[in-house]
Amino acid sequence: MSAARTALVVAALTLREASRRRVLLAVAVLTTVLLALSGWGFSRLAAEAASGGITSGEARLAASQILNLVMFGFSLIAALGTAFLAGPTLSGETESGIALSVLARPVRRSAFLLGKWLGLVAFGSGFIVLAGLAQVLLVRATADYWPPHPATALALLAAQTVVLLTLTTLLATAVSPMASGVVAIGLFGATWVAGVVGGLGDALGNEGLARVGDVSRMLLPTDGLWRGAMNAFQDPSVFAQIGLSDVQAFPFLSAAPLTATYLAWSALWVAMVGGLAALSFARKDL
C-alpha cells in the first residue's frame, strides 16, 4: 500500500475516532458556550458605546482586546483538545496493543504517523478556523468590529495548533499518553508566560527579560504565532491610543506582525520535530 494511501486511511480513522469518542461534541459544546458568553459581552460593550458610557474609540479598543482574549480561549481549547487526543491516539494505541495488528500490515510506520498527524491537524486547525470565524462574525454583528486581517489571523492560530500537536506527536512516540499531554500543555503555558515576561521586558527596556520571550518563541513557536495572530485581529488604531510600550506590556495585544523569517522558522521547526517523531516511532519496539 502506498504511503500516501496509508496516511489518508489513518487520517480518516483519527478523525472518526475524534468524532466517535465524543471529542467533537465536547469541543462543540465548549465553543458554543464561549461564543454565547462573548456574544453577550460584545453586545453589552456596543450598548455602553451607544448610550455614551464610553467613546466609540474606547469601544473599538475594548472589542479588539476582548476578541484577542476570546481567541486565546479558543486556542487553549484547541491546544488541550489536540494534546490530549494525540497522546491516547498514538502512545495509547501502542500501549494497549491496538497498534500491533495495524502496524503488522504492509504499512510504513512513518506513513502511519503522518496519517495520525494529518488527522489531528485537520481536527485542530478545522476547529480553530471554524470557531474563530464564528467569533469574528459574532463580533461584527454585535459590536460592529471587523479585524484588519482575519484570514491571516485564523491561519496563524491554525499554525499554532499544528506546532503544538507536532510537539505532542513527538512526545507521544516516547512517553506515556498522559505524560505527553501534560508535558505539551505545560510547555505551551510556559512559553506563553515567557512571552508575557518578554513583553514586559520590552516595555521596561530590560534586555535580559526581553530575551526570555525571544528565546522561548524560538524554542517553541506557539507564542510567536499567537502574537502574530493577535496582531492581525487587533485594531491598528490601538497604538495611537495607548502607545507602543503599553501594547508590549499587555498580554492580549501584540506590537508587531510576524516576519517571513519567523514563519519560515516555524515551518522548519514543524518539519524537524515531525521528522524526529517519525524517527523515534520507527525505532520503537512495540
Binding site: M1, R20, G97, L100, S101, A104
Partner: protein, 323 residues
C-alpha cells in the same frame, strides 16, 4: 541493490518459505530475550512455538513481523525481507495482546484491515470471515461492547480477512472457552488444507500436538529443540498383557524390535515406518501362536512430557555449568 530489484530477484526464485529467520538476537537492557534463534516455516505447514513463560516466544514473533527490531539476525517473510513492508502484505496476525479500536464496529475493523493490507476482499468476504469466527450477528456492534473472548475471535477474523498466505497466531485461545478452542483448531486445520502456513504460539500443548506438523521449542531465548512431532517424541510403543506365551510367540514379538518384560506385561517399541498395521498383525499372529491376549495399550510419550524433559535437561545443564 535497491529493495525493488532485490524483491524482483526474490520473486523469481522458487517459492520461498513462509518464514525464514536466522540468528535472531534481542536484548532488553542487560537481559537477553532472544539468543541466536533460527528456524523456518514452509508453505502450508503448521509450526508450533512452545516454551515456558519468558522464553522469548512473543519477542520472536514480533521480530518476525517487524514490530520489534532485533539487534541481529535476518527475517524473510514469503520471500521478502521483513524490512520491506510489502513482506507483510499476505500475513495475518493475532497478537497475544489483542485489542481493537473500541469505537469501531467489528465490520469496520475488518474493512480497515482490508484497506491497510491493500487486498480486494469485498464486503461479502468480510462478512463470511466474521461468521467463520462466530461473530456473524455482531458485525454492526462496537468492539467496546465485546467480551475478551469475542475480541479474540475478532482478532482471529482480522488475521484471516486479507487472504493471508501466512497466519501468525500468538496465544490464540487464551480468552476462549473449550468450544472456542475447538473452533480455532478447525480454523488452523482449514488453513493448512488451503496451503496457508501457520505459526502458532500456544501454552496449550495438547492443542499444538493436535494441529502442528512441526514444533520449535524455545527456552531462555534459544531454540532448545525443533523437529516434527515424530522426531521429537521418538518411537511409539505398545504394551501387551499376555499369558501362555510360547517361545515362538516371543520370537514373533522380537521381530518388531526390542522387547521388555515385566511379569505378564510386554513392552515393544514399534518401528518408525509403522503405517498402523504392526499392532493388529502382531495380535493376530500371537493369538494364532497360542498366546492369550488380555490387554493391548498403545502408548507414546506425550509432547508435554517431552517438553518438560527438554526444559529440565536445559536447567540441569545450566546448573552443571554453574558448579
Amino acid at each position: 541493490m535497491t529493495a525493488a530489484v532485490t524483491g524482483e530477484l526474490l520473486d523469481a526464485l522458487p517459492e520461498a518459505p513462509a518464514v525464514w529467520c536466522s540468528g535472531l538476537r534481542k536484548r532488553y537492557g542487560s537481559r537477553a530475550a532472544v539468543e541466536d534463534v533460527s528456524f523456518e516455516v514452509r508453505r502450508g505447514e503448521v509450526v508450533g512455538l512452545l516454551g515456558p513463560n519468558g522464553a522469548g516466544k512473543t519477542t520472536v514473533i514480533k521480530s518476525l513481523l517487524g514490530l520489534v527490531h532485533p539487534d541481529a539476525g535476518e527475517v524473510v517473510l514469503l520471500g521478502r525481507p521483513v524490512t520491506d513492508p510489502a513482506a507483510r502484505a499476505r500475513v495475518g496476525y493475532l497478537p497475544e495482546l489483542f485489542r481493537y479500536q473500541p469505537w469501531l464496529t467489528a465490520a469496520e475493523v475488518l474493512a480497515l484491515h482490508v484497506r491497510l493490507a491493500g487486498v480486494g476482499a469485498g464486503a461479502q468476504e468480510q462478512r463470511e470471515c466474521l461468521a467463520l469466527v462466530g461473530l456473524g450477528d455482531r458485525a454492526g456492534d462496537r468492539v467496546g461492547t465485546f467480551s475478551k473472548g469475542m475480541q479474540q475471535r475478532l482478532g482471529l477474523a482480522v488475521a484471516l480477512v486479507a487472504r493471508p498466505e501466512l497466519v501468525v497466531l500468538d496465544e490464540p485461545t487464551s480468552a476462549l472457552d473449550p468450544l472456542g478452542r475447538a473452533d480455532v483448531r478447525d480454523v488452523v486445520m482449514a488453513l493448512r488444507a488451503r496451503g496457508v502456513a501457520v505459526l502458532l504460539n500456544s501454552h496449550l500443548i495438547g492443542e499444538v500436538e493436535r494441529v502442528c506438523d512441526r514444533v520449535v521449542i524455545l527456552d531462555r531465548g534459544r531454540v532448545a529443540a525443533s523437529g516434527t512431532l515424530a522426531e521429537l517424541l521418538g518411537q511409539r510403543e505398545v504394551r501387551l498383557e499376555l499369558t501362555g506365551v510360547s517361545p515362538a510367540a516371543q520370537a514373533r514379538m522380537a521381530v518388531l524390535g526390542r522387547v521388555e518384560r515385566s511379569g505378564d506385561w510386554f513392552t515393544l517399541a514399534l518401528p518408525a515406518d509403522d503405517d498402523g498395521d504392526a499392532v493388529p498383525d502382531l495380535v493376530r499372529d500371537l493369538a494364532a501362536l497360542g498366546a492369550r491376549v488380555h490387554a493391548v495399550e498403545p502408548s507414546r510419550i506425550s509432547l508435554e512430557e517431552r517438553l518438560l524433559g527438554i526444559l529440565r535437561e536445559g536447567a540441569d545443564a545450566r546448573a552443571g555449568a554453574a558448579r
